[in-house]
Symmetry: C2
């Protein structure tokens, strides 16, 4: 048991450091470990640690009037949590099922991740231009996503940017890179970029600092 | 105590995910935690997990005769361990002292990190062009580094590339990026890139895959 915990902790750290890539499900011997991690307090502690790093970085970043200082935040498991969905699916120990996942998302009831909402509010208050950028399909999930975000307190961002028809079928790295290049072309300086997947944080124009929110439940290439 | 372990684990994961940057010493409340981590087995387990990822990635990477398929490995705390030195210095809980560190390095007695030596031997056997790239000063530390590596079994690499006069005073990212750009200009394809610092793995021409070896004892910008 001790060695299983040790193995699963090593696996989780390998995920967070982008050493483990392309995995489809949580290793079966780590499902219980991931459950304990997500519900037992360590996940919250880890999110708090990332948000603390954001907050201390923010202290050194001044926004001047007229400057286009931007932050980018991903949506799923960055702003909004899918933990209630994954709880019913062995915390990522089952293959991804797009039909049931879409049904879940369309209900529009994802709870905010509290620490991320806190720093989001600070960014808005500090007058950064905040862009929420998500691979969710705009046509199908646009309305429910906007409503879910607003209901959970994510109010005041510059724009919610979703996957349009033009980007259907593209991987997350090219899609999000294209969005960031566009923002930079419009004169924005990306001061920070926050996501739970490395595919949010790699590619072009990744920003002055990236922040990886922990997520041991699934991997988006 | 439980909450201190939880805090220090969160800090360590933040380091591995490149969320915590620019830190100068291990937080004082985490020195004991880092000691337990480095000596108690979890560090070895984490290194093994990274090396396992390298091994399974390697299975899908073919080397063809005449192709210039390269791997890059950092030296300090990637191939060779400085743990005996940091043991005497509170596992990173003291500010870096370049004089005593140079004395340690000049003794040439850094032990190999066993799992990394194992995968290094596999790379050599598979006929990859392996480059060891280190920020150690060539003039001062060239001889002792080459001898230390050879004595520990790191034999058969294409070249040990150290910091020459031209790169003195440059940060690790520009220095290592310049070396990698040069290798790519010479026709090498960097199939993998391994280091214990994110400054080994970011910048230009980082390679097809990067592998972050854990290191909670110090941060190289």
């Amino acid at each position: 048991m001790a060695s299983e915990v040790s193995y699963c902790l090593s696996w989780r750290v390998a995920v967070e450091a982008n050493n483990a890539r392309g995995w489809r499900i949580v290793p079966s011997q780590c499902v219980r470990y991931v459950e304990n991690y997500m519900l037992g307090g360590q996940y919250s502690s880890d999110v708090d640690a990332v948000v603390d790093q954001m907050a201390s970085y923010l202290e050194g970043v001044a926004v001047e009037d007229g400057e286009k200082d931007a932050w980018i935040l991903d949506v799923d498991d960055t702003c909004l949590s899918n933990l209630p969905y994954y709880r019913e699916r062995h915390f990522g120990g089952e293959p991804f099922d797009s039909a049931s996942y879409k049904n879940w998302v369309m209900r529009g009831v994802c709870p905010a991740i509290p620490a991320v909402l806190g720093i989001y509010e600070k960014l808005i208050e500090r007058r950064f231009h905040v862009f929420l950028v998500t691979g969710r399909d705009e046509e199908l999930l646009g309305a429910c996503t906007a409503e879910n975000l607003a209901a959970q307190g994510f109010v005041g961002h510059q724009k919610l940017i979703m996957r349009s028809r033009a980007h259907r079928g593209h991987g997350a790295v090219p899609f999000k890179s294209a969005i960031r290049r566009q923002l930079v072309a419009e004169g924005y300086r990306i001061r920070g970029n926050v996501g739970d997947q490395w595919s949010d944080l790699l590619g072009d124009c990744v920003g002055d600092r990236t922040f990886k929110i922990p997520n041991p439940m699934y991997f988006v290439p």
